[in-house]
């Protein structure tokens, strides 16, 4: 037996230590205790999760509704605006200490940008200055002509004839 085998042999002897009798039973008892703790923990965690879910649901359902922001009308060119255009009022000057916060709040509001000629036209229309729209906007509906619908039966379909394909046979040599 060489030295390597001798060391391996000694090691095996040294490490082949058996536990005291009843070790498996003690392990099983320990695991049973763990099972109880684990199941209790699981129940507590489940209960806590359910409570948190109920609280979140309650908060979502009963939270006070915020005052809705005024809707900003988006105007396409040529469309009639839903509300009159209001000239922006001059902003009151605030003390320097609050200046920064206020400007941020004002910036948050979107600005309406309308072409000057469109704005003046709308102003005139709303004030009653314009009573009649140009003919472009008044289509002559009375004189519109429509074609009469004629229903004709379709001719019967022609028979489909497919001739068999003729392939040239190779010439025997």
């Amino acid at each position: 037996m060489n030295e390597k085998d001798s060391i391996d042999h000694e090691l095996r002897d040294l490490l082949s230590v058996d536990p005291l009798p009843g070790f498996d039973e003690r392990v099983r008892a320990r695991v049973r205790r763990e099972r109880k703790v684990f199941s209790w923990n699981f129940r507590w965690i489940s209960a806590a999760a359910a409570i948190v879910a109920v609280i979140i649901a309650a908060v979502l359902v009963f939270r006070p509704q915020r005052a809705s922001k005024p809707e900003v009308a988006v105007m396409a060119s040529g469309a009639v605006p839903p509300s009159p255009i209001v000239e922006p009022k001059p902003r009151p000057k605030l003390p320097a200490a609050h200046h920064h916060r206020v400007t941020q709040a004002v910036r948050a509001e979107p600005q309406l940008i309308i072409a000057a000629n469109e704005a003046s036209a709308m102003r005139r229309l709303l004030s009653g200055e314009i009573t009649e729209l140009p003919p472009l906007f008044q289509p002559d509906v009375k004189n519109l002509q429509t074609r009469e619908t004629v229903v004709e039966p379709l001719p019967p379909p022609a028979p489909v004839i497919i001739n068999p394909a003729e392939l040239p046979l190779p010439v025997a040599q």
Binding site: I7, D8, L11, L14, S16, V17, D18, R26, V27, V31
Partner: protein, 179 residues
């Protein structure tokens, strides 16, 4: 309602029973292995038993992820080793360790023979203790239950080449230390 819930609950209960049964099988297969791994580090039967039990308790908590037999063995071995090392570090002041001879089953040797064996075993333990951890774990795993290279590699999740070289180094060191 109860009639509808009953079969679903039955399925869950059956699953739990299956898990319990499987775990019982794993305990029967690996309890001695876990004990020996812990003993190799702690050299004290009570401490080794404690650590092995604790490792099984942890394994139970994660058993749904460790149902594969090889995976379970590997996980248990590594976990037991780590827990045993942690315990050694936390109880470094504790020096009263059982001597190896008290625990090594040795028929009925003569008193002189017994003393020689005890001294030799003590030297071997000291030599193992001086090895770096990565060499120590490899040589211990190879010594326990006569695991071969492939088995040690699987248990420690290392490539076989690494295990081979570490085993060689560990044997070299032990030989030097024992001379």
């Amino acid at each position: 309602m109860y009639e509808q819930v009953k079969p679903i609950a039955g399925v869950f209960l059956d699953m739990e029973e299956d898990l319990k049964r499987e775990f019982e099988t794993r305990i029967a297969e690996t309890s001695t292995l876990a004990y020996r791994v812990a003993f190799a580090v702690l050299r004290n039967s009570e401490d080794a038993e404690d650590v092995a039990q604790e490792a099984f308790a942890k394994a139970y908590r994660r058993f749904s992820q460790l149902r594969d037999r090889d995976r379970f063995r590997a996980w248990l071995v590594r976990m037991t080793w780590r827990m045993a090392i942690d315990r050694t570090r936390s109880e470094r002041r504790r020096t009263a360790r059982e001597t190896a001879a008290n625990l090594t089953p040795t028929g009925a040797p003569s008193p002189v023979q017994s003393v020689i064996e005890r001294e030799r075993a003590e030297k071997l333990w000291q030599a193992i203790d001086t090895l770096p951890e990565k060499l120590r774990i490899v040589i211990v795993m190879a010594g326990i239950e006569e695991h071969d290279l492939r088995e040690v590699a699987t248990l420690l999740r290392l490539p076989e080449g690494t295990v081979k070289s570490r085993l060689f180094l560990a044997r070299q060191r032990l030989k030097e230390l024992l001379q």
